[in-house]
Structure formats: C-alpha cells, structure tokens
C-alpha cells in the first residue's frame, strides 16, 4: 500500500470572484515508503498548491488525500496528527524561525506533539545532526546564523517531527552550489536513515535527476508525467513545450542523437552519459 496517495485533487483560488484561478485540476499519484519523488513544473503550474493539500493545509474542492490508506480530511480532530506524519518544508523556510535559540526553534514541532522533554532533546540533536548543524550553534539565536545555516535549522525543525512523508518546496532555492549540495545530501540521508518517502519540488533538473526515483511533472495544474527520471527526461520535446528543460547531459546526448548517432534515450546522469559516449566510441558509431 502506498504511504501517501492523491486522488483527482482539484483546487481553485477565489472561487466565484473575478480573480478565480484553477491551480490544480484532477491530479492523482501515489508514493511508496522509502521513495524519493521530484516534482517539476513551470512557475504557476500548481506545485505549491498541490503540496499544501498533501498535509491538509489546503482543503481540495474535490478529491481525496490518503495517508496510509486513511482520508486525512475525514476527521478534523486528527488533522494535526496527520501534519506530524506528513512534514512540509515551505519555500524559504528560514523566514519562519522565531524562537530564542536554534534548539527551541527546532523543538517547536516535537513540543507541539506533546512529547516528553528528553525525547524532544533527543530529536532536536538528531535532526541537527542530519542537517549538519554543529552542536554549539544550538544555543545561539537563529537570527545570528548564516543564510545556509538558517535554512538547515528550519528544515531540521520539520525533520525533528520525524515525519513518514517529508515534503520540501524548493529546498535549494537561492543557495550557493555548496549549500545546495548539502541540502540534497541531507534529503538523501533522511530518506535512507528513516525509510520515509520524500517529495521535493525543484526547478533544478540536475537536482531532480540526482535524487529522484520518480518524477511528477505538472503542467497548468494537471499531471503531465509521473514516471522514472529516465522515461520523463526522454521526453525532452514535450518538456520544452511546458517551458521545462532536461538536465544538461541529457541535452548533450539529445544533440548527438540529432546528428544521427544511435544514443540510448533518457540518460540523465553524468556517469551514465560518460559510459554511453565511451560505448559509442568503442563501437565506432559515426553520423550516418
């Protein structure tokens, strides 16, 4: 059974006003435990709206969200419990830091779960370790951290709830290459250690290619593709039509294919691409 499944979700902003906007129209997909799913789509394709429905912050006008097979909207009293299980990290989460110390801020979620103090302390330390925040920073004010540290502290605040499904909305936006690499490594580490499913929204195809087991492509609020990165990135023309690009290495291989070379379509990692080019050279493939 999938840990989280969305069934024909629809959401319209400002229903019945001149500002009406259909953000998500009939999106369905299911995520298995331990899976990493990349969500891509151009600006305004409904990604952020979709992820906010998955933990019940937005109530879809139609459609259901099942967490472990149970409808999260069925019982309003259990909604909070669902939010602890489906952890959502918003865009620019560092703007939500508020507490006196980093430790207290990371502990905000676990404290809301009414956990005993020693358990809270354990979770805070563990989450800080996953995101790579040194212990001595825990006693500092979150506002004294650097940008990248703030981002990691904010993500730790969600990880400390130890959610079964972790959702991140553009976790690497605005970070330098090193900060980006740290966040991606952290996502992978949490996924591996806890066996939780991870969904992450990204505009960066390299990030999506590096991390995802499957990719969900949204276009104008509908599901365009939901498949392995290889199958999705083999559709470079369709993606271009949705103002999306494929990873740079895929573009290079597509260019070779355009010259009449028999390249295996949909390769998206640098390693695979290198192996493919070496193979082609050995076989003496030349433009026809």
């Amino acid at each position: 059974m999938p840990v989280l499944s969305a069934n024909s979700l629809c959401y319209t902003y400002g229903q019945g006003t001149p500002y009406e906007k259909h953000a998500v129209r009939g999106v369905s997909f299911a995520v298995e435990a331990g899976e990493i799913v990349g969500i891509i789509g151009h600006t305004g394709s409904g990604k952020s709206t979709l992820v906010q429905m998955l933990n019940g912050l937005l109530r879809p006008q139609s459609g259901t969200v099942l967490l472990n097979g149970e409808d999260i909207f069925a019982d309003p009293k259990r909604m909070r419990a669902c939010r602890f299980q489906v952890g959502l990290v918003f865009q620019y989460p560092e703007y939500q830091l508020f507490d006196e110390t980093v430790e207290k801020d990371i502990g905000f979620g676990p404290r809301n779960m009414d956990l005993p103090e020693d358990e809270i302390a354990r979770r805070v330390r563990r989450a800080a370790a996953v995101v790579g925040l040194p212990e001595e920073l825990l006693a500092q004010s979150p506002f004294d951290l650097s940008g990248g540290e703030k981002r990691r502290a904010a993500i730790a605040g969600v990880l400390a709830m130890e959610p079964r499904v972790l959702i991140l909305d553009e976790p690497t936006a605005g970070l330098d290459p090193r900060g980006r690499a740290t966040i991606l490594e952290m996502i992978r580490a949490y996924n591996r250690q806890s066996g939780a499913a991870v969904l992450f929204v990204s505009h960066n195809m390299e990030d999506v290619a590096a991390l995802s087991h499957r990719v969900l492509v949204l276009d104008h609020g509908t599901r365009a593709f939901f498949d392995t990165p290889r199958a999705v990135f083999a559709q470079s023309e369709a993606l271009a039509g949705m103002s999306l690009a494929v990873p740079a290495v895929t573009r290079i291989l597509d260019g070779l294919a355009g010259q009449g070379i028999a390249v295996t379509p949909g390769l998206y990692t640098v390693e695979d691409a290198a192996a493919e080019i070496l193979r082609l050279r050995k076989e003496g493939e030349r433009p026809a």
Partner: protein
Amino acid sequence: MSALLNDITFGQYYPGNSVVHRMDPRAKVVLTVAAIVLIFLARVAVAVACTVVFTAAAVALTRMPVKLYLKTLKPIIPIIILTSVINALYVSSGTVVVHVWQITITTGGLLTALYMAVRICLLIITSSLLTYTTSPTQLTDAIERLLSPLALLRLDVHTLAMMMTIALRFIPTLIEETEKIMAAQKARGADLDSGGLMRRVKALVPVLIPLLISSFRRAAELADAMECRCYHGGKDRTRMRQLHLSARDWLAFAVTAAVFGAVVAANQMASGLLYALFTGGAL
C-alpha cells in the same frame, strides 16, 4: 492570492469598467463625503427615501453584483441591531405601541430606529462603493491632490500620500506573508485557533515575530529600491497619469447637488408643517 484575502471584502478594489469606475477619483472622494453628510442630514421619511434612491442608483451604476455590497453589511449587523433597539427604547414620541412594565415603545421610537438602521447601512454601502470602484493608487492620488492646499501650512502632503500608498500597497503583501507563516507553523503542529484568550495570544508569537522581522527587511529593501531609482520626495515630480474632471464628473456633482437640495427642502417642509400643526393646535 489567498483564502484570508478572499474573506476581506470591505475596502477591496473590484476591477470593472463602469461609469463610476471611470470617474475622476477626486470627484468620487468629494461626492462620497457629500453623500455621507447627506445621509445624516435626512431627518424625515421623504428625505430618507431620497438618500436610499440616490445610493441605490449609484450602486446600480457600478454594475457590480449587489451581493458584494450586502456582504459588507454582514459584519455590522450586531451594531445595527444594537442601535435600533436602543433608539426604539429611548425615543418616545408619537403614539404608544407597546407598554409592558417599564418598557414603552412608541411609533416615533420605531421610526427613529428604522431611520438609524437605514443610515448605517447606507453609510457602509457608500464607503465601500468608493473603495470597490477606485484602486488604492487612484485613491491616494486623489487624496494627495485634495490635500495639496495644506502644503501652504508647511505640511508635507506628498510624503503623507506616499506613506499612505505604501501602507495600502503592503496590506495584501503582509496578509499573504502572514498566511504563509501561519501555514508553515501549522505544518509544525502550531494550534492557532483553539484554547482560551491567553493561549491564543501565546500561540501567535511564532507568527508575529517572523512577520515583524520580514516587515523590517521589506522596508529596508523598498527604501533601497526607491533610492536606486533616484526618489527624492515630492519636489519637481511629474505624474504619468494626469487627473481630469470630465462631463460625467460634473453631471455627478449636479445630480448630488439636486438630491442635496431635495433633502434639505423635505426637512424644511416637514418642520414647517409640524410648526403649522403645533401653532394651529395651540390656537
């Protein structure tokens, strides 16, 4: 755009292309003030009826769903009921309708209560008509122009207007920001809408602190952006959109003046009539 934003209808611009939308914002501000004076001037049935017809005609001219105007009345229903009850109980004139124990309700009291309720409704509808049909930029533009004579008193009208524009401009931004932060803290299990007063106030801390910090950040960024574009206050500034009074504005002035005359005349006639009745009765 957001759910919270949708709930706030009073004072929100509703785009359209009606005659009222196209009027000069200065004329609209002046006429709204005139209409409010008019609503409070009307004392007798005929005069109150005049103001009702006048307001209804203005609403019809905006070509907007009447439902939107009724929605603005909803939050003030308790006020209307309260003032009506107080008026009905305390004003005693005319014949007695009900007399139970200490409570006496007269026809005069009921009439005053009704007039008061109608006045409050008209007041709200008239002011929302202005904000519905005038964008915040137009509104501050109009206010700046209307207040410009105060510059003679060494009052910095331009800066005041700019502050107002910025404040209005940032209301939706701040609402959006508040919602985002609330959603983020809710995602961490914050319980923002249950418990007693103290608990709720405490629960708001995780929302208010990030909001305050981001407001300061935004203010600094905006100041930088304005300086980068060489903003240096009102002196020698020219405008992209010049305001012009057109035929429809003059027509609106004329109609309002006519209604004004009618209301004053109706009030006068009624008091004259009463005077005649009183003196006639005394003789």
